[in-house]
């Protein structure tokens, strides 16, 4: 299609509102009679609630309600009693009944006519806690005799994931080199700029309206309904524009608290976290610990891989179980192994519950594994590019767990990123860290991801979409996947626009609202573009068929002779006789006319095209064998760093990222996704770390929890390679998460290349790098002395 938008850079369709400050995020909305809610959080990491007295708080002028666990509605079987619930493990309570398990656990909540009154009331709620021994470190939590958070789950295990395939012994016997390494990644705050904000209204008949940013509205309301003991259909969830999330704003306890406060007061309730509350109790990326044994043959081919993972759930389980499962085995769709085994434990500690974040366990494993690949390459004297090519999956391959690689341009990614970065200029890492000055290094890493992951919520496989023409000629598209700021709405508008022969700016993409959007699991697992895009394409085709048939009736034409272009249906010339005013080749009808006449002919109904997409995947069974995703994206990144060897400070001075994400719908927003992913990776690699001492987050602010600023991110070179993905109706794969996944190891490998020091624990702060350099010098000195002594 010559006039198509797909493949060309296109401004986000909602960018005009964004640059004019007219985009209304949740905190910008005010409902009539609205109250302000605030949460009283536990100041102790572990304890029994002996007494709560809310009487003084209730006397504060303007306070309309104070709720505690005693006010929670029944949610047990047959509407009786309270039972815990949760998205993966039933360990959520809305408000703590008898026990608090982390500093920040929700104990009570207040609704008042002003934020000030609500804050004053919070201070007047008296709670008596009987402290219990607490455990903050996941390794300590696994030890016998450690304090137990959930008596019904002894050993503090929230969940576990085990997988094994192939003959490990046979594979290991062929080994020429075995690497055994320990790596760890740290707790990261999503640090979206918009603090968590929600509005709730209660209606008669146990019905609610909730305005809350979430990736997964249809799934979230199921969790909320379980918590409230109602049917999910009673919750209408409207997703407003979201000021960033990156995985944090999935399912949030505050939504249920707001709903209950609204129920109790009969007034709408708005709740907005302040930054310290958001950063301390708004959930984090989990820390992961890896023990990895990798066996290779003489040529650098991977034989076996054994992995043990320990991860922190925090005090309750949010979305971390699938994160840990991903860390345990997704790498097996990047590289081939003859045999693999992984066991992963998710462990309770008295800390803020962790949840998923962009990269979802895969980025963590790649931090460890991509460094080990470089270690192996160095030991075996193989080029880092070459060793990756030798082991990587290729198009048409079936992986050890049955995942089918429909397309892969990973080799092209590697070649291209090596060329762009001048990777051949890379010198071997120095044996001795340089004594002074700044040392430069280049580091390579590859990564991949899924494009939707069926096992995560198999009941919502695929996506549906509607394309609609209203009586005034306006086109709109509805999908069930919220735009989370990445530009999904623009991409689906572009796909629809090209099918319908209009400009994307002529298409409205409806906000996701469970009252009238197609049901979908939402925007997660890098699925939205492939799933929603394919559904929109199908819906647009259905729409076009109906539209042309109707236009054919009006014009007296065979629909096959009609085309839809530039906002009108045209009867193509060449049919022979010239027609009357309406009818005959050359005649046309605008969308506005068609919309009006369709509505008139159908008692006011809009013209609606429906479409859906069910990806060709194979749901892994109990043996975890199958093909969970329709497509797999790949990427190769190179970082160039400058290490100040006297202070340990690392600066990323250059960055190159080459991606195979199948067909690129919007090169401008796609480039932005990669740039943003790389920046997040730089932050994680070099400066970000949620510091917890005694269960308390010590840096819940942007001064001490540093995300990269303008001067911390270098100009980046981003390119896309690869062809259309055959298993995807629009040819796309995914990008959002593969953008982040290779960043940490690329930087860590570059630091090693610069100073000859390998850092096993993220982040590579100046102090961590400085210490590693000191340690390396001491080791070399000791070794030197030993040699002298001999």
């Amino acid at each position: 299609m010559s006039l198509g938008s797909v493949g060309r850079p296109w401004p986000q369709i909602d960018a005009v509102d964004k640059v004019r400050g007219r985009t209304r995020y949740a905190a910008d909305m005010t409902l009539p009679g609205q109250l302000y809610g605030r949460i009283l959080r536990s100041p102790v990491p572990h304890g029994i609630i002996r007494r709560i007295d809310t009487s003084r708080a209730l006397k504060v002028p303007g306070v309309r309600a104070v709720i505690t666990a005693a006010d929670l509605p029944p949610n047990g079987p047959e509407g009786k009693g309270r039972v815990p619930f949760g998205p993966y493990v039933d360990d959520w309570e809305i408000l703590c009944s008898d026990r608090v398990r982390y500093i920040g656990d929700e104990v009570a909540a207040v609704a008042a006519v002003s934020e000030e009154a609500a804050a004053e009331a919070l201070e007047l709620i008296e709670v008596e806690y009987e402290p219990l021994p607490a455990v903050f470190d996941m390794h300590e939590a696994l030890e016998p005799g450690a304090p137990v958070l959930w008596p019904e789950r002894p050993g503090n295990i929230a969940s576990r994931f085990d997988i094994a395939r192939g003959d490990l012994d046979a594979a290991r016997r062929k080994a020429h080199l075995v690497l055994e390494e320990r790596y760890s990644t740290n707790r990261i705050y999503h640090a979206y700029l918009e603090p968590i904000a929600v509005l709730a209204e209660a209606h008669p008949g146990d019905r609610y309206t909730l305005i809350a940013p979430t990736h997964i509205p249809y799934k979230a309301r199921v969790t909320y309904a379980r918590g409230l003991g109602i049917d999910p259909g009673k919750i209408r969830l409207i997703v407003p524009p979201m000021g960033g999330s990156f995985g944090a704003k999935y399912e949030l306890n505050v939504c249920m608290i707001a709903m209950l406060l609204a129920r109790k007061t009969g007034r709408p309730v708005k709740m907005v976290f302040d930054r310290a509350e958001d950063a301390a109790a708004g959930h984090h990326r989990p820390p992961l610990h890896f023990d990895i044994r990798l066996a290779l043959d003489r040529d650098g081919r991977f034989l076996s891989k054994e992995v043990r993972i320990v991860a922190t759930a925090g005090a309750r389980t949010m979305w971390t179980p699938p994160v840990v499962a991903t860390a345990a085995h997704r790498i097996d769709a990047l590289y081939h192994f003859e045999a693999v085994r992984a066991e992963a434990l998710l462990v309770y500690t008295n800390t803020s519950p962790t949840t998923c974040m962009r990269g979802f366990g895969n980025a963590e494993m790649l931090f460890a594994f991509e460094q080990m690949v470089d270690q192996a390459a160095e030991e075996l004297g193989i080029d880092p590019v070459e060793i990756r090519k030798r082991n990587a999956v290729r198009a048409g391959d079936v992986t050890i767990h049955g995942w089918r690689i429909g397309s892969s341009a990973l080799e092209e990614c590697l070649d291209r990123v090596a060329l762009l970065s001048g990777f051949s200029r890379r010198k071997p890492a120095p044996r001795h860290p340089p004594a002074s000055g700044k040392a430069r290094g280049l580091g390579l890493a590859i990564g991949h991801h899924v494009s939707g992951y069926r096992p995560i919520l198999a009941e919502y496989d695929g996506s549906a979409a509607w394309v609609r023409l209203d009586m005034d000629g306006r086109l709109s598209v509805a999908v069930g996947e919220p735009d989370i700021g990445q530009g999904l709405n623009t991409v689906v508008a572009m796909i629809a626009a090209d099918e319908l022969g209009v400009s994307p700016s002529e298409i409205d993409v409806m906000p996701v609202d469970t009252a009238h959007s197609p049901a979908a699991v939402g925007t997660l697992g890098s699925r939205a573009t492939i799933m929603a895009g394919a559904a929109v394409k199908a819906a647009a085709r259905d729409f076009k068929k109906k539209l042309l048939a109707f236009a054919g009736e009006l014009l007296g034409a065979d629909p096959g002779e009609l085309v839809l272009e530039r906002g009108r249906v045209l009867w193509r010339r060449g049919g022979g006789e010239s027609g009357e005013r309406e009818g005959g080749p050359g005649a046309s009808l605008t969308l506005a006319e068609l919309g009006r006449r369709w509505a008139a002919a159908h008692t006011g109904s809009p013209l609606v095209g429906q479409g859906s997409y069910r990806p060709e995947t194979v749901l892994p069974g109990p043996d975890k064998y199958g093909n969970p995703s329709p497509a797999y994206p790949f990427a190769a990144h190179v970082a160039e760093v400058e290490v100040d060897v006297e202070t340990g400070a690392v600066e990323v001075v250059n960055y190159w990222a080459v991606h195979d994400s199948g067909r690129i719908i919007n090169p401008s927003t796609a480039t932005g996704q990669v740039q943003g992913g790389v920046a997040q990776g730089i932050g994680w690699a070099l400066m970000e770390d949620v510091a917890i001492r005694g269960g308390r987050v010590e840096n819940p602010n942007f001064l001490d929890y540093r995300i990269p600023g303008f001067q911390d991110v270098p100009p980046m070179t981003v390119e896309f390679v690869g062809e259309s993905e055959p298993n995807s109706p629009t040819g796309v794969k995914s990008l959002g998460e593969s953008a982040l996944n290779p960043v940490l190891p690329a930087i860590a490998n570059a630091v090693y290349n610069a100073v000859g020091v390998r850092i096993h624990d993220a982040p590579l702060t100046p102090e961590a790098v400085w210490r590693a350099i000191q340690r390396r010098r001491e080791e070399l000195e000791a070794a030197g002395k030993e040699r002298e002594a001999q």
């Binding site: 400070a649 990269p708 102090e767």
Partner: protein
């Protein structure tokens, strides 16, 4: 959410400000607000009366006046914003360390609000402006109910958040000597807005390609910024640009200075009494501050020799 409660009063004159400040024990001067408003919001101060001194005439402006020795002395009003400081041509020419530090103090929005006096009186051990003021031998001009007095800034800061100001006293201005060359470097985790993990300012005067005088001050490694006596270590040392060396290279200005710089580093290391906190460990701060001391001195020498200016003032 902390509920700080403030009364707001605006002072039009210095006398008025002093009266207001003396009127209540919970009276705080308010200049740019970047420390006081945050302190209230974070619950470090529960409120009181904020006396807005930003419009008091005596606290305004940057003025130069000649000294008896034929030099130039600069007076910087306490209510001068960091932006105004950075835009002042005399400051740019005469007090390069202060410009280095000002550029690193917060982002542009903070620089447009924060004042020189506020940064001094907040008395953070890591305050950017303190080491440069120390090496330029700044004097605090203080007004109080008993009249006014002057105090060398080496005696101005007495601990974290503590100054030598008595109750009811107000910092009116700071006065500095000009001459010589200076530089400020800091170490941080984030290159964009951050707080110094450690910092150093150096001042040198060079005559006939020899160091005539030198001063060094360190930040964020003690309860208050530290002046370290290095004059004897480097006095008389010949300095000449060594070809092909980066300005951060210890040998950039010849082997004699390189050797003395090792001792400067050791002095800085010995003087530092840092703490461990969420930002960095004490031993790391200590190791780094020696490096910073050396780099600050090298940059000051570089400026004294008026060789090409390196505008990058971050260490890392």
């Amino acid at each position: 959410m902390i509920r700080d409660r403030w009364e707001y009063v605006r002072a039009e004159t210095l006398a008025g400000a002093l009266t207001l400040l003396a009127s209540r024990s919970d009276a705080y001067p308010l200049a740019g607000g970047t420390d006081l408003v945050i302190a209230g919001r974070l619950g470090r101060i529960r409120g009181g009366v904020a006396v807005d001194i930003s419009a008091v005439p005596e606290l305004q402006g940057i003025t130069a006046f000649p000294t008896e020795a034929g030099g130039v002395r600069l007076r910087i009003g306490a209510a001068t914003t960091v932006s105004a400081l950075l835009q002042d041509e005399l400051v740019q020419q005469k007090l390069p360390a202060l410009v280095d530090a000002g550029r690193l103090l917060g982002g542009w929005q903070i620089q447009n609000l924060a004042t020189v006096g506020g940064n001094m009186c907040n008395a953070s051990p890591s305050a950017e402006l303190s080491p440069p003021l120390l090496v330029h031998r700044a004097e605090a001009v203080i007004a109080g109910p008993e009249g006014s007095r002057r105090l060398g800034v080496d005696r101005f800061w007495t601990g974290p958040g503590k100054t030598a100001l008595a109750r009811g006293e107000l910092l009116v201005a700071v006065e500095l000597e000009t001459g010589g060359a200076s530089a400020y470097v800091r170490h941080q985790i984030r290159r964009s807005v951050d707080i110094a993990l450690a910092s150093a300012a150096a001042w040198v005067s060079v005559e006939d390609e020899r160091i005539a005088g030198a001063r060094l001050a360190l930040g964020a490694v003690a309860p208050a910024p530290l002046l370290v006596d290095v004059a004897e270590e480097v006095a008389g040392v010949p300095v000449r640009q060594a070809p092909g060396k980066e300005p951060d290279d210890p040998g950039a200005f010849g082997p004699a200075l390189a050797k003395r710089l090792q001792r400067v580093e050791r002095l800085a290391f010995a003087a530092a009494r840092p703490i461990t906190d969420v930002r960095a460990s004490a031993d790391y701060r200590r190791a780094v501050v020696g490096v910073l001391a050396r780099r600050a001195l090298l940059r000051a020498v570089q400026r004294a020799l008026a060789v090409s200016e390196d505008v990058e003032t971050r260490s890392g």
